[in-house]
Symmetry: C2
C-alpha cells in the first residue's frame, strides 16, 4: 500500500536496530482518516472471505480493528491482557511473550464472543516476532473457529513473525513490509 509506505517514510522514526515508531498516526496519536484508507484496503483483500468477526488485542490494535470492521459490517472482539474483576469466568487464554516489554503476559477472550461458526480475521498494527498473532490463533483454535487470515498494518520483514505464520499455512496480508531499517533508512519489500 503505497500511501502507507509514504506515510511511514515521512512520519515514522527508527530507533536503534529494530524499533520503528509510528506514534504520529497509528500507535499513540491515531489518524482516523488514514485508518479508513487502511480499513478499505483490508476489506479489498479479504472481501470474499466471509469474515464474521475481527479479532485483535488491546491496546494499539483496537483503533485499526474498529475502523476496519466498518467495511466488513462485523463486530470486533479485542483480547484482554489483564485480569479484571469485570471479566467473565469462562475464557480462552493464551500466553504471549512481548519483546517490547520483555515479559510474558496472558491474553484472554470470553468464550461468549467466539464460537465454532466464526470465521475470524485477526487485525493488528505490527507484526514482528509473531507472538501476539500466535496467541490469538491459539484462542481462535480453542474456540473451534476458522482463522481466515491475518491483516497487519506494518510487518517487520527482518524479524521472524511473518515467516513463522506463513509457514504454518496462515494467510498473512501486510500492508507494508519493512525489509531493513539499517542506519535509520527504511527499505520496504516490493
Amino acid at each position: 500500500m503505497e500511501r502507507l509506505k509514504e506515510k511511514i517514510e515521512k512520519e515514522g522514526s527508527v530507533q536503534g536496530s529494530n524499533i520503528l515508531k509510528v506514534d504520529n498516526f497509528l500507535n499513540h496519536q491515531v489518524d482516523v482518516n488514514f485508518l479508513n484508507e487502511i480499513g478499505r484496503e483490508f476489506a479489498r483483500r479479504f472481501q470474499d472471505a466471509g469474515i464474521s468477526k475481527i479479532l485483535t488485542i488491546e491496546a494499539s490494535g483496537i483503533a485499526v480493528a474498529a475502523i476496519t470492521a466498518q467495511y466488513f459490517g462485523v463486530p470486533v472482539v479485542f483480547a484482554k491482557k489483564t485480569e479484571s474483576k469485570n471479566l467473565d469466568q469462562t475464557v480462552y487464554k493464551s500466553e504471549v511473550f512481548s519483546f517490547t516489554k520483555d515479559k510474558t503476559y496472558t491474553i484472554m477472550v470470553s468464550s461468549k464472543y467466539l464460537d465454532s461458526q466464526d470465521r475470524i480475521l485477526i487485525i493488528d498494527d505490527f507484526l514482528a516476532n509473531g507472538r501476539a498473532a500466535l496467541g490469538l490463533r491459539d484462542i481462535v483454535e480453542q474456540a473451534g473457529a476458522d482463522l481466515v487470515g491475518i491483516g497487519i498494518v506494518i510487518e517487520k520483514g527482518f524479524q521472524p513473525g511473518g515467516k513463522i505464520l506463513r509457514k504454518a499455512g496462515i494467510r498473512v496480508e501486510s500492508l507494508a513490509i519493512v525489509k531493513t531499517m539499517a542506519e535509520g533508512r527504511i527499505i520496504f519489500e516490493e
Copy 2:
C-alpha cells in the same frame, strides 16, 4: 440516548452492587455499527465546540474514541498506561487509581501530541469515580490546552465521578446515566 438505554437494559448485566457489564457491545466485543450511533450523538452535542483533538485512555476507550473522531474529522490521542521502550522521553504524566483493578497506575501522553492550541474533548466508555477523567484533565492542563468537555457513554450516577467533574466546572455529557442498579434492576436518570 434512548437506544443506548435500551441496549444496556437488553444486553448489559449487573454484578454485585456496582459492576455493570456491557462486554457484549462496548468493552470486549465492540458493536461498531452501534458505536457509530454513539459517535454521531457526541458530534451532535459538541459540534460547535471547535474540538481539535479527542483524548482517551487505553484500552476500552479507544474504539469509541476512534469511531467518534470520524464525525469530528480530528485525530485521537490515547493515553498509555504502561512504560514502553517505544515511548517518547518527553511526556505528560498523571497518576490514576483504578477501583476496578484496585491499584494506581501512571498514564502518559507524549508532549508531541498535545499543545496549548488544542481544544480537547475527552471520550471514555465509563464514568464512575472519575479518576481516569481527572488524570486526563491533569494531562490536558499540563499541555496548556483547553478542556472543552468530557463525553461519556455510560455514567454510574450513584458513584461520585460525575458530581466531582461537574462541580469543577467541566462540561460532562453522558449518553446514559445509571441512577441505581440495586438487585440487578437498572434505573436510568431522566
